[in-house]
């Protein structure tokens, strides 16, 4: 290596050193360590005990709550992801029309995004209150009887899902808006000349061109759904009767309430595997296809 190249390399290493070392110690290291922890039984009071795959076996064959929390999380994802995408796409389409006040609307829809999940969870917890909540009062105008949203095991999860959709629609909307602005007018005009009405223009021109944004939003939303915790912690604490026990909440319980570090770590790795497979799936079937060159 020439002297200049060596000097450049040294500078390069120096520049990345703090960043990379912290990465090794606080990210890469834990990822590897977590795997070993998952092969042990550890309550942090006594030394860890090596149990190989026993944690995984117990989780998959002996733990009703594991499957329950997984099922709940999938349910939660089914509630929040499709509806979230549709709503934020619809909002983006609407705001892309150049209507009066677009800026204001965009700001309004975005405020729930920047608010902390705790603040949102607390106020919505009150909204959902069975006796004094605002939601029941609003629904009474439509002759819908009052419900115990958060204490009814059927309604609790949809209630949390609604809050989350409300909180995140602005975020995805902004992503779609950016994508929509890249859709060339010339293409839409050409389609209109060929006789396509607005619905056809949407499905045949706009939507395919939004594929990268759709892909991104889908992946991110799905990963986000599997990390749900804050809302459940504040609004229902996993209840009523484990009805809203989501995967991440059960991990937290196992680690920090039952002190089963190895067990919880195994749960985390199972989730890792699951998300990896799902993302692989998505990349394969929905990933970047050939872009059609536009003029």
């Amino acid at each position: 290596m020439s002297r200049a190249a060596r000097q450049q390399a040294l500078v390069g290493y120096a520049f990345i050193a703090p960043n990379f070392l912290a990465f090794l110690i606080f990210v890469a290291g834990p990822v590897v360590a977590g795997l070993f922890i998952s092969f042990s039984e550890w309550d942090l009071l006594s030394p860890p005990k090596w149990v190989a795959l026993q944690n995984y076996v117990d989780l998959l064959t002996n733990d009703r709550l594991f499957w329950l929390s997984l099922g709940h999380t999938i349910y939660y994802a089914l509630l929040t992801v499709p509806a979230g995408i549709v709503i934020s796409l619809a909002l983006a389409l609407l705001l892309n029309q150049g209507l009066f006040g677009t800026r204001v609307y965009r700001t309004l829809f975005f405020i729930p995004v920047v608010a902390s999940s705790i603040a949102v969870a607390l106020v919505w917890k009150w909204f959902y209150n069975g006796e004094f909540g605002v939601l029941n009062w609003l629904l009474s105008w439509f002759r819908i009887p009052p419900q115990n949203w958060l204490t009814n095991s059927q309604l609790a999860m949809p209630a949390i899902a609604l809050t989350v959709i409300w909180k995140t629609m602005g975020y995805n909307m902004v992503i779609f808006l950016a994508g929509l602005q890249d859709v060339p007018q010339s293409l839409l005009e050409a389609a209109a000349i060929d006789g396509a009405n607005s619905r056809q223009r949407f499905w045949s021109v706009t939507l395919p061109l939004l594929r990268p944004q759709l892909f991104f939003v889908l992946v991110v939303s799905l990963i986000g759904a599997f990390q749900a915790f804050d809302m459940v912690y504040v609004m229902t604490a996993g209840g009523p009767g484990n009805a809203t026990l989501v995967y991440n909440y059960y991990i937290w319980q196992n680690a920090f309430q039952f002190f089963k570090m190895g067990y919880a770590s195994a749960m985390a790795y199972i989730l890792f595997l699951l998300i990896f497979v799902i993302t692989l799936f998505q990349v394969r079937y929905l990933g970047k296809r050939a872009y059609y060159e536009l003029g």
Binding site: Q8, A22, F26, G98, I118, A119, L188, D230
Partner: protein, 304 residues
């Protein structure tokens, strides 16, 4: 055969909406106007729904406790009172929570800007063995769910003796994140190399070039990252929840959440007062730096 002609509605704005005029022109125009009205109404309703919970939060924080438990619910406090605020300040360490959040988040934010930009510049412009492999590693870890590192990191904190200290809240995040480095690297790559070449010819070293040329040009990207980092850590919940057990050392969201599950559970005016306080800093930053939020999200969305 129907004849279809195209007309550009407004030529001034960059957004051009072609309107196909057919022989049923007048009826179509009425439909369009009606549609626009409906769209506006829909947007207004949704916009209000986004604002309403926060207005409710604000109003509840000024209510007396008995007034919260009335049906039908009343929007405006009657009478107005500050007892919600006095209660939360008197019976919870919210002063500490506020200080902790501000201290932790601003420290992390400034530190991350420094170290992420240094690393990002190296990844973008400097050549050294292993550069691309390391960067791939960064990208790969961005896809790993946070639960995987949660428990080992906690155990690390325990063995370092950092549990219940500021160290656990700050140090793991001081030197930048994979995301921040990625974002800035993308940005740095868009800066024309001629500028750096010119600096090189003038005899500037790498650090000087970085400080004098690259950084000043990167203010928007740095602002965007700063805003993102602030937002993420201000609202961060699970990590501060598990590494801090002393009430005085908690951050704002965690403090509020913990007391909402215990002695303050039904004291809604006080709880709402707490959440209002927690929202003020982030809302100020949001309104001041709105476009950086939007910019940041757009950047991440397009690059996937």
């Amino acid at each position: 055969m129907r004849s279809v002609t195209l007309e550009n509605e407004v030529l001034l704005t960059s957004k051009v909406v072609p309107v196909a005029k057919t022989n049923e022109g007048a009826l179509h125009r009425l439909n369009t106007r009606l549609l626009r009205l409906l769209l506006h109404i829909f947007l207004i309703v949704l916009g209000i729904s986004c604002l309403f919970p926060f207005l409710w939060m604000l109003s509840t924080s000024f209510k007396e406790q008995f007034q919260v438990f009335t049906y039908p619910p009343q929007l405006l406090p009657n009478p107005w009172t500050l007892t919600g605020y006095t209660r939360i300040f008197a019976t919870s360490p919210i002063y500490n929570w506020l200080f902790n959040s501000i201290f932790v988040v601003t420290t992390i934010m400034f530190s991350q800007l420094v170290f992420s930009s240094l690393a990002a510049y190296a990844f973008a412009r400097l050549r050294f063995p292993g550069r691309d492999i390391i960067f791939m590693l960064y990208l790969a870890t961005m896809m790993i769910p946070s639960q995987v590192t949660l428990i080992p990191s906690y155990i690390l904190m325990k063995y370092l003796g950092w549990i219940d200290t500021y160290y656990a809240l700050i140090v793991p995040f001081l030197f930048g994140s994979a995301f921040g480095t990625f974002l800035l690297r993308q940005f740095f790559q868009t800066i024309p190399t001629e500028l750096e070449d010119a600096a090189r010819i003038d005899g500037a070293g790498y650090l000087t070039t970085f400080l004098r040329i690259i950084l000043p040009l990167s203010k928007p990207a740095l602002a965007t990252l700063g805003v993102f980092v602030f937002l993420y850590f201000w609202n961060d919940f699970l990590w501060p929840l598990i590494v801090i057990n002393t009430n005085n050392l908690r951050t704002l969201p965690v403090g509020l959440a913990v007391i909402s599950r215990s002695y303050f559970g039904t004291d809604w005016p006080a709880l709402m007062a707490g959440t209002v306080i927690s929202l003020v800093p982030i809302l100020i930053i949001f309104f001041a730096a709105q476009r950086y939020f939007v910019q940041g999200i757009t950047l991440t969305g397009i690059k996937g």
